[in-house]
Amino acid sequence: MKQYIIRRLIGAFIVMWAVATLVFVMMRLVPGDPLAAMLFDAADPDMVEELRRQYGLDQPIYVQYFKWFWQVLQGNLGSSIYGSRTPVTTIIAEAFPRTMSLATLGFFFALIIAVPAGLISAIRKHSAMDHTVTVFAFIGLSMPDFWLAILLIIVFAAKLQVLPAIGYVPLSQGFWPWLSHIILPAFAIGVGFAAIITRMIRSSMLEILKTDYMRVAQAKGLREFVILTRHGFPNALIPVLTVMGIALALLLAGAVVVENVFAIKGLGRVLIEGILNRDYPVVQGAIIAVSAIFVFANLIVDLLYGVVDPRIRFE
């Protein structure tokens, strides 16, 4: 187990190194001077030269790479080329809790919807209820999250005026102000995820219902409720957990888009704004940060399998 964790951790760091390197190389391979945007206000050629020297752009690319990588290892991702030249790490540190708030609440919404829906769908297979759930799950899968976000704003912010349409308030300023700002975006993110989990729970529960131990439980004369909650449901969750890594990725990908609708400056908004402003240090930093979340979230999910299902042995 310990060995497995160490091996996976090394693997995760290798992936992060590969991502960082790819980002560095790609940003410099693109046609034209990728850092030209940085120098756009310096029309004077001498000044351009000066700036180039200052940023080390006059050196060979492998020297730049090692210098840059050494900085990254020390947690220095450079600073934004705009305005007050805020360090990228500061921007990311501010954005991170916002994205995580959204993803966590989205996950919570999704489970609240998906667990009952999936179970009912499996237990009452081919009933009208099952068909309704299936159609809704398909709609949830097919609905663009940013569009759902807009619909929610139209209904709850513009028409009913019960929830704020945009912005974010940190948890430190009170629970309700925080929650009220993230309910709509979190719901928009959670719906697609809910659709997937519903389908997963349905199919894995259907498999479980056919197993011998469920028949034994029935033969023992246990009440149906006990059979389903004690014997069925926990086992039905295992295959669901195997898609958790993918699902988490989906939540975060959703957050990247939906943050932009609600003007919440999470990692997604930082990334997209960086791209639109050609703020390369910010883009590099955001890509590395978003990637780190995926890689380590997947790692945690993999390790969790063993906790949930003791039958799984790590090699």
Binding site: L29, F138, S142, P144, W147, A158, L250, V257
Partner: protein
């Protein structure tokens, strides 16, 4: 002796349309027709494809013409209302179908070809080839396709062609993984040994003997991918990372009207409806195909 009659060998999910005797393909059609969702999907998708192709002749108005009142609601003259510049929304959305379908089908065609080549090569040759290809595929697999498309657009820039390139590259890993997995099992089949002992070239064995048996999962994966590619383009364009601002894209139309949705709800509702119904139809079709071809390699989640 020419070809090994490998058609009869049943590999899981093996299916080729032209392998089927007429009554079996009719049976397949009957199977699809029984599935109401699949019929819905097929009908809607056909209507969309036809209207995208015939857009210049069927749109009620010139999509660029700012001839009408601004933000007029639903009426007989403008079934879906007009936008903030007084353009007919329905006409714009019909043109938008062209971009969505173009991106959806072209990206999947590109990623399918590249992914299949990589997958077959990795599975068939094994060893170092497999290792190099799979290292890359695993790296890409660690990230959601949409995020990869965003990363790529960040590097290569915006515009229709770049969006197609970015989404195509983002989807390669899905195809490569499925094909590699299937090739690994098919490689052990006797007819492959037979073909080898007959001295056929690697390329011939790969593409004539192995590939045809991987068609079923590829078809299903391709269907699922088309719907995600359409969502991907809409998402990128919505974020301002997609097609140029003078191109008709559902995502872009939705983004443009964002500031007006509180006073003109139809601008927020209809573009999204078009995206959703298109993606829904394709997902229905994909699901029916998965059942019909009995494919398990493809998850319904094409993240």
């Amino acid at each position: 002796m020419t070809d090994i009659p490998h058609n009869q060998t049943t590999t899981a999910g093996a299916f080729r349309a032209d392998d089927l005797p007429p009554d079996r393909s009719r049976e397949a059609l009957r199977y699809l027709l029984r599935d109401k969702k699949a019929v819905f999907g097929a009908v809607v998708l056909s209507v969309l494809i036809v209207s995208a192709l015939l857009a210049p002749w069927i749109v009620p108005y010139d999509p660029e013409a700012m001839d009408f009142g601004m933000m007029e609601g639903i009426s007989w003259a403008h079934p879906l209302g007009t936008d903030d510049l007084g353009r007919d929304l329905l006409s714009r959305l019909i043109y938008g179908a062209r971009i969505s379908l173009l991106v959806g089908f072209s990206t999947v065609a590109i990623s399918l070809v590249i992914g299949v080549i990589l997958g077959v090569a990795a599975g068939y040759f094994g060893g170092i080839t497999d290792m190099v290809i799979m290292r890359y595929i695993d790296l890409q697999w660690a990230f959601p396709n949409f995020i990869i498309a965003v990363y790529l657009v960040a590097v290569i820039g915006q515009g229709l062609l770049n969006v197609i390139i970015a989404i195509s590259l983002a989807f390669i890993d899905d195809f490569a993984r499925i094909v590699r997995g299937m090739v690994l099992s098919i490689r052990e089949e006797q007819y492959v040994d037979a073909a080898k002992s007959l001295g056929y070239s690697d390329a011939r064995i790969m593409f004539r003997h192995i590939l045809p048996n991987t068609v079923a999962p590829i078809i299903v994966q391709a269907t699922v991918s088309v719907s995600y590619a359409i969502l991907g383009e809409a998402g990128l364009s919505f974020l301002g990372l997609g097609v140029d601002s003078d191109t008709f894209s559902w995502g872009l139309i939705l983004a443009d009207s964002r500031s007006f949705i509180s006073s003109a709800w139809w601008l927020g509702v209809f573009p999204g409806c078009f995206i959703m119904i298109t993606v829904l139809s394709i997902n229905f079709l994909g699901d029916a195909l998965r059942d019909m071809l009995d494919v398990r390699e493809v998850k319904s989640v094409g993240v």
